[in-house]
Amino acid sequence: MNNNYNFAFLDEGSKREIRRCTLKAVAIPGYQVPFGSRELPIGRGWGTGGIQLTLSLIGPNDVLKVIDQGSDESVNAVNIKKFVGLCTDVETTNNTTEATLIQTRHRIPEIPLKDGQILVFQVPIPEPLRIVEAREEVTKKMHAEKDYAPLWLQLYESLVKYQKVTIASEYPCMVEDRYMTNPSPIPKFDNPKLHNAECLYLFGAGREKKIYAIPPHTKVVSLAFDDVPFERESFAGKTCRLCKSNNTYLDEMFDAQTGEKVYQCSDTSYCKEVAAHA
């Protein structure tokens, strides 16, 4: 551990502010609590919101897992793990069930998370209304008035133009019938995992300076019309080339020379575990 820095890098005042905001976020599910996002030794937009949440949550008894697009071994995940390890000395793991604290970019692990586990999301754009309204003061007022008509209109226009909903990730959802929330750029495939979960979901947007939360056993409904229900990505007929799973979120890989398409689990630790027990 690098003793030139405070435990978990941030000073205690910063941690306390983030902790207070986290508690408010949990008390008001889906509401974006503004916070004073701190400078970190990486650029904003590279997961600083998630890192600040992780640093304010983590203690010596935690076991940390970091994933990036489902992978434990990508550059972003490895470097965040190294950074947090350098300033805390906490144990890290690739095993989802062993981890008490999981920081993620753009995926929710395939293995259902348990009570006591916390999933921290890195969020680039926390505001689900940003796509229909550029001004922060207006979106804030829209949330206050629960005015989500422009978002419904966008969904309708998508259906009229393309005969289907074209939102692939960042699919907005309604939390506890009150707040329209951006579940960070997770694929639609993961949206149902937010509803009535056992674990606590925390979302941190460093550049946009917002923290929000979805506590356990919270009602989360993905945006949909009565006659056009929400649909997640379908991988019917496709299996992972490594573990043969047919019920996971699959990455498509393309061989330019042979023209062959292959599929592989996005969640690498789950894939390895299934393959090892096959």
Binding site: R19, R20, A25, V26, L57, P216
Partner: protein, 201 residues
């Protein structure tokens, strides 16, 4: 001759704060779940070590607080955390010390009726009320809300039931509201955030 400087409190503001925060987070995420902060409170001296534990974990010069029932505690919290003493109506954190049943009910009523509840645009600018509840569990209620799977039968004291009834009587328009944290003499803590409601789902 050398003299040794000894600290009045042994509470570690880095590691103990982190552990206490995680316990509060757990309690707030799962309303009515009881967690123990006694071992951290044992590191603090004075008449209200449980309140000091929470104050040292959550308060600093960025927030304001108000204590009902003990001026000495107010001074102690102010000097330890540098948090601003504030009138009840504007305080971010309100600590209610235990007293006789009647007096405690009166303090609770004053606090809940006057605490700030945020606005529709800024619901986070609302108060958290921390209550020391010494009375024994006396009634069964059904709780529901985020953090509770379906409903939860809960054995609570008169003071807690009274607090929930007083909060309901305010008829806050959600997301406005106040969050309640209760600590017992034995160092047990549980929380009832604004969406934890009493009754039938």
């Amino acid at each position: 001759m050398t003299s040794t400087l000894s600290k009045k409190h042994d509470f570690d503001t880095v590691f103990d704060s982190q552990e206490v925060f995680r316990l509060i987070l757990d309690a707030l995420s799962c309303p009515a779940r009881v967690v123990s902060i006694q071992k951290y409170a044992d590191k603090l001296f004075g008449a209200h070590p449980l309140f000091l534990t929470l104050a040292l974990t959550l308060l600093d010069n960025e927030v304001s607080f108000c204590v009902l029932g003990d001026d000495l505690l107010e001074d102690e919290i102010s000097s330890l955390t540098l948090a601003k003493k504030e009138q009840l109506q504007n305080a971010d954190f309100i600590f209610i010390c235990s007293a006789g049943e009647k007096e405690e009910a009166q303090r609770l009523q004053t606090a809940i009726e006057n605490a700030k509840c945020g606005t529709l645009a800024d619901p986070h600018k609302s108060a958290t009320i921390i209550v020391c509840d010494k009375s024994p569990a006396a009634s069964y209620v059904t709780l529901f809300g985020p953090g509770i799977a379906e409903t939860l039968e809960c054995h609570i004291s008169h003071a807690v039931k009274n607090a929930l009834e007083l909060r309901d009587a305010q008829n806050y328009e959600y997301p406005q509201g106040i969050d309640l944290i209760f600590v017992s003499n034995a160092g047990e803590l549980f929380a009832l955030p604004r969406l934890a409601r009493m009754g039938v789902k």
